[in-house]
């Protein structure tokens, strides 16, 4: 059971959380202006990352907030959790210095 650091409540056991899939996929502002392919990409296309993955969690049995976590999918190590609206740190985006 993972230990997840809720940005509001602190470290809590995974049993209190619900995973919300890949992070940083914003709903298009005007869906009707999108082509079918663009809309399908938003609906269905997700990364299958080996390594650092940014994902959403909700502290469902806690404060109820959605937030993001940067988790290494090979080790389950969570490098950082951060609130909705914040960006992952540059070093965690895989950007070369």
């Amino acid at each position: 059971m993972l230990l997840i650091n809720c940005p509001y409540c602190g470290p809590r056991p995974e049993a209190e959380f619900a995973n919300g899939g890949q992070a940083h996929i914003a709903r298009p502002a005007d869906p009707m202006s999108l082509t079918d392919d663009e809309w399908a990409a938003y609906l269905y296309m997700r990364d299958n990352t080996k390594g650092l993955h940014h994902e959403r969690w909700r502290h469902a049995n806690g404060c109820g907030r959605f937030f993001n976590a940067s988790r290494d999918t090979t080790t389950d190590v969570i490098k950082r959790t951060y609130r909705m609206g914040e960006r992952p740190e540059a070093e965690h985006q895989g950007a070369k210095p």
Partner: protein
């Protein structure tokens, strides 16, 4: 019975009480503190089981949890019977009843032994080769036979009478293993404010120290030092000592599963003791002090009863005070077996010869053995043994071959060195590295916050073991934020036994390897392993699955390294390149009871009941499960079956008035100045113009355009909506709403609160509903003009506050009375009493389903399956076409969602009005079409309609709305049923009744 193999224990504590127990129906006597293994050995019993494939007689190989052979079933009654326990771990108590497994008809004469004569037909991979053809033979012939012959124990015939619990625990430092390294780690780590848990799988803590007669620490004999250290730890309030507790699994983020065996060793457990307690421990830091497991040598007929690991024999003598044999041959590749031989000799056994695989045996231990007059043969092997139910002799020759000498014996000790127990480290995803010196894997780079100390790290000399334990304990406490208050020093006096080791088969002659066992429990020989490599399996993961080596309940604790050695030599590839099989939890077999914990019987799942439930129960209602809710299904009267009850409930509701508990419906209160805007975005419908005091049926889609949920929504005020959802969808809908609100539209001033359990909902339906309610209601005008269909009013009923909905899911004049849940039952009873003169009839979910189906109202999850659009379901009218956007809108114009031939909701009337279709039945155009018959739809709902006096059905049919009047076929096992496509509204299509 006299235990002729009993000797004085090393520590002199001889005041042990006699304990009587039964094994294989025979009574024996042991002493308090014995394991079943040590007690049987004291009685000269070595034959304890039969092997898995060939049913060869087998005896004790080890003295611990790595034991591959001595599997026993324990328990005098079926409800307390546990299979697959290890005799080396089972502690005896007065009256214990145990039996061996894997034998038929008896342990001494076993019919399966014949398998060995057919061993030529049971090579590696025999499951794959033999049983693949013909296909039917597997089920009818092979499987039943294999099931009986295979020794996997038998499941108890009755439910487990014991109780089990689970507990979550937290500590700063968890130390796994209470041998020398673990004790030192605990002494150091707890010399701080850190909370420390020290656990050990054995009954007595101390590990190898308990079997050591030659070493001393701080001037004390090793076992005495261990007991003194434990006394000291016991006095520290920050330390929790847990014996009989196996750390069986490592889960992410320093979460370790411990299984505590609470009562298995007790003849009369107390009432408040669970049999086992599963501890789920979150530790800031972990110290792994799991020790090492001695490795067998692989030689021909190395599996006879009376052939055991050298250090195990030392444990039996020094710790339990039993000598496993009196005429001993020792076969070794390392010094530790000399130490064992000397201890056995001191206990009175005769050491016939020490056969040493090494080219030239020398050093302290060899000299000491020779000095004591023990014959030592270097560069030699035991290449065969004799004796059917107990070893009788060993054939000894030079390692390269040549003439063999036969030496009589009743015990052969073997040792190929020690394999560090890296199981938990590996489960923690730490990287292992191969040590050429130890011929074993040792912990490399860590991923989690842990460190390995002592023998599990590959350290075997007692002084370095204790030093590494102490350092690990200090490090763990400091890293957890509690630097120890000092360092203590340890004076260790012990002769090292070095680290010599061997892996693989010792046999020079490959032909002889057909009975050289690598995996005792799964009956895999060196020859099998070599055969697998010859057939092309080069990865150890593949060899494992092909030969089944390492796949038994012992998970290859003894066999994995030897299998690797055989493969490595055979294909001439270095061991690390051959790979290593994955270590998975549990470390040792763990009971299902422990994993289930309290989650059984009434506590398996929460059972959710409404406040009206007890009333329905008292009325004799039958209930159905909807999620974890119990809902009243129907209310049978004396002599009625379900069919009759439902027909009566339907008629009563249509003709006068029915009462229904709708409390399980999900409810969400949506409040804020942007509430209507939020509703516009979440639902397909338009909400802006809905006036306060009005209701609207709302449809919610997923972003992919398919129906997710539906429900009636009341606008209580401009900024307040009372939303209802399906019973099963309540949590999902609320979570999705929160998701959009928090992540997409945080600027909206609107907030959500679940009110599902705040309100009891009493549905009153039927032409007399208004007449029943009127006298009970205060402050609400129920007349059709003042309160039309789809409106909501607030007032009081029976003196308590209510939100009264005028709404109908039956097609009749109807109301849904929402009252605070604590008043639900009382209000229900008051309404029921008031309805008596109208013949008010309680109805359940089945009648509700029939009544709504007659009206063509859908049920999400029944008419929909996650691929149904509003238009498919005939709900196109509920989609606000003028709205710029709502969740799912964009998907509704995707090509696949606008195709003409999508499945659409229609009604079906069977040609034979008495034939009720089956829900889920497939619909075809031409049942005589050759298989596969193209399917054009399926039945979603089907009932007997008492109102219409015929069967009715709803169905999703390709292009269904353009097929009105068409006759379709529904092929069933008993024949084809014909049905005509009709509109989905089968009763009162104009809706005159609900506007009454």
């Amino acid at each position: 019975m006299t235990d002729t193999y009993r000797v004085r224990r090393g520590d002199g504590a001889e005041s042990r009480n006699a304990v009587h127990f039964t094994f294989e129906g025979k009574s024996y006597q042991g002493l308090a503190g014995d394991t079943l293994a040590s007690a049987l050995i004291a009685n000269g019993v070595h034959l304890v089981g039969r092997s898995f494939k060939y049913h060869r007689p087998r005896g004790f190989v080890s003295a611990g949890s790595e034991e591959p052979n001595a599997l026993v079933g324990v328990g005098a009654t079926q409800s307390r019977y546990t299979p697959n326990l290890l005799a080396t771990q089972v502690e005896i108590y007065e009256g214990l009843v145990a039996e061996s497994q894997n034998r038929w008809p008896s342990l001494e004469t076993d019919a399966g032994f014949l398998n060995e004569y057919f061993s030529a037909f049971l090579p590696a991979g025999f499951y794959y080769k033999t049983f693949m053809w013909p296909r039917m033979a597997w089920k009818k012939l092979y499987e039943p036979v294999i099931r009986r012959m295979a020794g996997l124990g038998r499941a108890p015939a009755e439910p487990d009478a014991d109780r089990y619990t689970q507990v979550f625990a937290h500590c700063d430092v968890l130390i796994v293993g209470a041998g020398p390294a673990g004790l030192a780690a605990a002494l150091e780590a707890s010399n701080s404010d850190a909370t420390v848990i020290l656990c050990d799988e054995q009954a007595e803590m101390g590990g190898s120290l308990l079997s050591d007669r030659s070493a001393s620490i701080d001037g004390m004999q090793a076992a005495d030092w261990a007991r003194a250290a434990l006394d000291e730890l016991r006095k520290r309030p920050n330390v929790k000592l847990m014996s009989r507790t196996t750390a069986f699994g490592w889960y992410p983020h320093n979460f370790v599963g411990l299984n505590e065996r609470v009562t298995d060793h007790l003849a009369n457990p107390a009432a408040n003791q669970p049999r086992e307690r599963l501890w789920q421990v979150r530790a800031k830091e972990v110290v792994l002090a799991a020790g090492a497991i001695e490795r067998p040598l692989v030689f021909t007929d190395n599996d006879r009863p009376g052939i055991m690991l050298a250090d195990a024999a030392r444990t039996y003598v020094n710790r339990y005070g039993v000598v496993p044999g009196k005429q001993v041959v020792v076969f070794t590749a390392c010094d530790s077996a000399y130490r064992a031989a000397l201890d056995l000799k001191a206990a009175g056994a005769k050491i016939q010869v020490i056969v040493d695989l090494r080219k030239s045996a020398s050093g302290h231990w060899v000299d000491k053995a020779r000095a004591e007059g023990i014959k030592v043969r270097s560069d030699s092997i035991v290449r065969g043994t004799s004796g059917r139910l107990r070893v009788k002799s060993a054939q000894i020759s030079n390692a390269q071959g040549g003439d063999a000498e036969t030496v009589a014996c009743d015990l052969i000790l073997m040792s190929a060195g020690f394999t560090p127990s890296v199981h938990l480290f590996s489960q923690s995803r730490g990287k292992l590295s191969y040590s050429e010196e130890l011929r074993a894997y040792v912990p490399g780079e860590s991923v989690e916050r842990e460190r390995s100390v002592g023998a599990c790290k590959g350290l075997f000399a007692l002084d370095s073991v204790i030093e590494s334990g102490a350092k690990g304990g200090r490090d763990a406490a400091a890293k957890a934020g509690f630097p120890p208050r000092g360092e203590r020093s340890y004076t260790v006096s012990a002769r090292s036994v070095g680290a010599d080791a061997f892996i693989g088969s010792v046999m020079a002659d490959h032909q002889a390897e057909k009975r050289a066992w690598v995996d005792f429990q799964n009956d895999v020989t060196a020859k099998d392993v070599r055969l697998a490599t010859r057939e092309g399996f080069r990865s150890i993961e593949h060899v494992k699955r092909y030969t089944t080596t390492g796949m038994a309940t012992d998970q290859g604790k003894l066999s994995n390294m030897n299998a690797l050695g055989v493969v490595s030599k055979q294909i001439d590839v270095a061991v690390p390149k051959v790979g290593l099989t994955t270590f998975r939890p549990p470390y040792t077999p763990t009971t299902f009871g422990s994993f289930a914990g309290q989650s059984r019987g009434d506590l398996f799942d929460p059972v959710r009941k409404t406040s009206i439930h007890p009333w329905a129960e008292a009325q004799g209602a039958q209930f159905e499960d909807v999620g974890v809710w119990k809902r009243a299904w129907y209310f049978p009267q004396v002599g009625e079956d379900m069919h009759a009850a439902v027909a009566r409930e339907c008629k009563a509701t249509r003709e006068s008035v029915g009462i229904f508990d709708a409390s399980t419906l999900g409810k969400i209160e949506i409040v804020g100045k942007d509430a209507a805007e939020f509703m516009n975005r979440m639902y397909t419908n338009a909400w802006t113009k809905l006036e306060p005091g009005r209701l609207r049926y709302g449809v919610m889609l997923r972003e992919d355009g398919f129906i997710m949920d539906d429900g009636v929504v009341g606008r209580m005020a401009t900024d307040r909506f009372h939303v209802t959802t399906t019973t099963g969808g309540a949590a999902r809908v609320l979570s999705m709403m929160e998701d959009y609100l928090q992540t997409e539209w945080p600027d909206l001033e609107v907030w959500l609160t679940s009110t599902t359990e705040q309100w009891s909902v009493i549905a009153l339906q039927g032409p007399n509903a208004r007449r029943v309610l009127e006298p009970l209601v205060e402050g609400i005008d129920l007349s059709a003009d003042a309160m039309p269909h789809m409106s909501v009013r607030q007032g009081r009923i029976c003196g308590v506050p209510t939100r009264l909905f005028r709404v109908s899911f039956t097609g009749e004049l109807g109301f849904e009375v929402n009252v605070p849940a604590g008043y639900g039952r009382a209000v229900w009873e008051a309404i029921f009493a008031a309805g008596k003169s109208y013949g008010i009839t309680p109805y359940g979910t089945e009648t509700m389903h029939v009544l709504r189906a007659e009206k063509g109202y859908i049920i999400v999850g029944q008419e929909t399956d996650g691929t149904v659009t509003p238009d498919d379901a005939g709900l196109g009218w509920a989609v606000g076409k003028a709205k710029r956007d709502f969740v799912g809108k964009r998907s509704l114009s995707r090509p696949a969602l606008v195709r003409e031939d999508r499945k659409q909701l229609v009604g079906l009337l069977t040609t034979d009005p008495k034939a009720v279709l089956e829900e889920g039945a497939q619909i075809v155009l031409d049942p005589t079409h050759p298989i596969p018959v193209p399917m054009i739809g399926h039945v979603t709902s089907a009932y007997w309609s008492a109102t219409l006096n015929r069967s009715i059905a709803l169905a999703l049919v390709r292009g269904g709305r353009s097929r009105m009047g068409e006759e379709l076929s529904i092929p069933m096992p008993d024949g084809v049923i014909k049905a005509k496509v009709v509109d989905s509204i089968l009763f009162d299509p104009k809706g005159e009744r609900l506007n009454a």
